[in-house]
């Protein structure tokens, strides 16, 4: 049974580039054993609003999305940021043949967020003590990071300062 031949393979790639001094283009491409799809968004900065969108979707058994271009335009004006996922899903719909496209719009948006995150992370010092101080300061500045993943979990070194200043004070 185990002939080492793959039954299914998937490649998804998301790229973000500047299209002028400020604005961004984010492209998500999917190629897997059943699907060939692509979504491109343009994001106006600094508002981070989706200003243009296009895409295509071919699938082995799912029907093409009728009026795809028109459907995608519904997300124009949506801001990339907190709360965007429920807005994008709500605007584009939940039909089965739209599921991947909705996911890919989200992936494009995540690409933009990660690009901006990368700029912040580049400021982290190289030495261990400096990095601990950098990320401790980050969680103090953005409380939403607290207890949101293993690195910033309750009781761990990077949140020790925050907990000492706040939770300890409340006890």
């Amino acid at each position: 049974m185990s002939n080492n031949i793959l039954n299914f393979s998937m490649n998804r790639s998301t790229n973000v580039e500047k299209i002028n001094a400020a604005d961004l283009r984010s492209v998500c491409r999917l190629r897997d054993s059943l699907t060939d799809a692509e979504v491109t968004i343009e994001v106006k900065m600094p508002d981070m609003e989706i200003s243009a969108i296009s895409g295509h979707f071919r699938h082995a058994y799912l029907e093409e999305v009728k009026d795809l271009d028109e459907r995608l335009q519904k997300v124009i004006g949506v801001r990339v940021g907190s709360g965007m996922l429920k807005i994008i899903r709500g605007l584009l719909g939940e039909e089965e043949n739209l599921e991947q496209l909705v996911y890919m719009v989200e992936e494009c948006c995540h690409g933009v967020i990660l690009m901006l995150t990368k700029k912040v992370l580049l400021k982290a010092p190289d030495d261990e003590a400096g990095r601990v101080a950098f990320y401790s300061k980050m969680v103090k500045k953005s409380i939403r990071l607290y207890d949101r993943c293993a690195a910033f979990a309750k009781g761990t070194p990077l949140v020790a300062e925050l907990e000492a200043e706040n939770v300890g004070g409340e006890a």
């Binding site: 998937m10 998804r12 901006l116 993943c149």
Partner: protein
């Protein structure tokens, strides 16, 4: 020039008659990580989950690997994504969760193909498309689900699956956050969520009201997401707790979340803010832009160069009657930007904790100059403008 790239590769192979082997790789400008696990073909339950970091950011990221075992036993049918985000994402790392979601998708697609290949043995002319259109998807644990099925198989809000935010007080200085209440003020937390009305909240309405009483607030507004409390239910809560309880509907628009007072229509899905404004204006309601500059985990509005002057021209501010300038879920910088915009546009400012559990009830609130006895008085007071956002707790 390319500023960021993320590549994800997922491969699925058949290990034996009953088992799939899944290998996922996420490699981007920031992170590089891998996942390996097995899946039962019959029920899509996964096991032997292992992860590996190749590149990461914080010194504590490697801790995430320990928590990947929490995905053991997950059934990877459609609807599992939110559970993956809430467990793997919250306890381990959101990037492992992102890759795990891709792997789950790949598994479902693989099983569809395997079922079709099995069916081909009986009907060698059966096309994949025809097989799926004839219900092959149901056999294969496919992604074909109705909205109802999705709701039942989506976020798990009961029992041990609930991911609670550990209580912690906001690290916001009083000076930067706003004024404190003055003697004689009537202080209401205009923004809080309760469970189960808001799926993202974790404490009951009774617990939230009791906490509001304990911290000496004068009233609370129940602002559950797209959920309209009945007047009778709220009256019953007032009597039960002997405490002023009001209603506000937090409605999702294409421009973000809006706190809507004096408007009790049950809006589901996403509504255009301009359309919402028409409907709310028709009944004399009042719209407050909730946390208008809520930003990101690692950077904020200031990091992308957003100034109050640029923000003031946003379409959102043409349609709202007020701006929430103290919100307990955003940073001091983001609240500060909201205040600058409200002041610049001459819009009244409100405050609310946006609490989703008792630990932050009343963190921020709105201080009114007069006693508010009922929702009519609350609406009238909001329109009159004699109030201000305050740091309360």
């Amino acid at each position: 020039m390319l500023e960021f790239m993320r590549n994800k590769v997922v491969n699925v192979a058949r290990l034996d008659e009953k088992t799939l082997s899944v290998h996922g790789i996420l490699d981007d400008s920031i992170y590089s990580l891998e996942i390996n696990f097995k899946v039962n073909i019959s029920d899509l339950v996964c096991s032997a989950v292992e992860g590996r970091w190749l590149r990461w950011t914080t010194p504590e990221c490697p801790r995430a690997l320990t928590f990947l075992e929490e995905a053991e036993g997950f059934c990877l049918k459609a609807g599992i994504d939110e559970k993956i985000h809430k467990t793997v994402g919250r306890r381990a790392c959101r990037h492992f969760a992102n890759l795990f979601v891709e792997c789950a998708y790949a598994v479902r697609e693989t099983v569809k193909m395997l079922k079709w290949q099995a069916a081909l043995k009986e009907d060698c002319e059966l096309t994949f498309k025809l097989f799926m259109l004839n219900g092959g998807a149901a056999v294969a644990g496919s992604s074909v689900v109705t909205g109802k099925q999705k709701a039942s198989s989506g976020p798990v809000t009961g029992g041990s699956e609930v991911v609670r935010q550990t209580p912690v007080r906001r690290a916001v200085s009083t000076a930067s956050a706003g004024r404190v209440p003055a003697p004689g003020d009537f202080v209401i937390d205009l923004h809080l969520h309760t469970s189960p009305a808001s799926p993202c909240a974790s404490d009951s309405v009774d617990a939230m009201i009791e906490e509001a009483k304990r911290v000496s607030l004068h009233g609370v507004c129940l602002s559950d997401h797209n959920y309209v409390w009945s007047a009778e239910a709220v009256q019953a809560l007032r009597e039960k707790h002997d405490f002023p309880v009001f209603r506000v509907n937090e409605i999702v628009t294409e421009q973000g979340d809006m706190l809507v007072f004096g408007f009790y229509e049950d809006i589901q899905g996403i509504i255009k803010l301009s359309e919402l404004k028409k409907q709310v204006a028709a009944v004399g309601g009042f719209i407050v832009a909730a946390h208008p500059f809520r930003g990101f985990l690692t950077f904020g509005a200031d990091d992308v160069g957003l100034t109050s002057e640029k923000a003031m021209v946003r379409e959102m501010f043409k349609w709202v009657d007020g701006v929430e300038t103290l919100n307990g879920k955003v940073t001091a910088t983001e609240n500060g930007l909201a205040l600058e915009v409200a002041n610049g546009l001459g819009l009244p400012a409100t405050g609310g904790s946006d609490a989703h559990d008792i630990s932050t009830v009343g963190l921020f609130a709105t201080a009114f100059e007069q006693v508010i006895n009922d929702e009519e008085e609350l609406l009238a007071a909001l329109k009159e403008g004699k109030y201000r956002p305050v740091t309360f707790r």
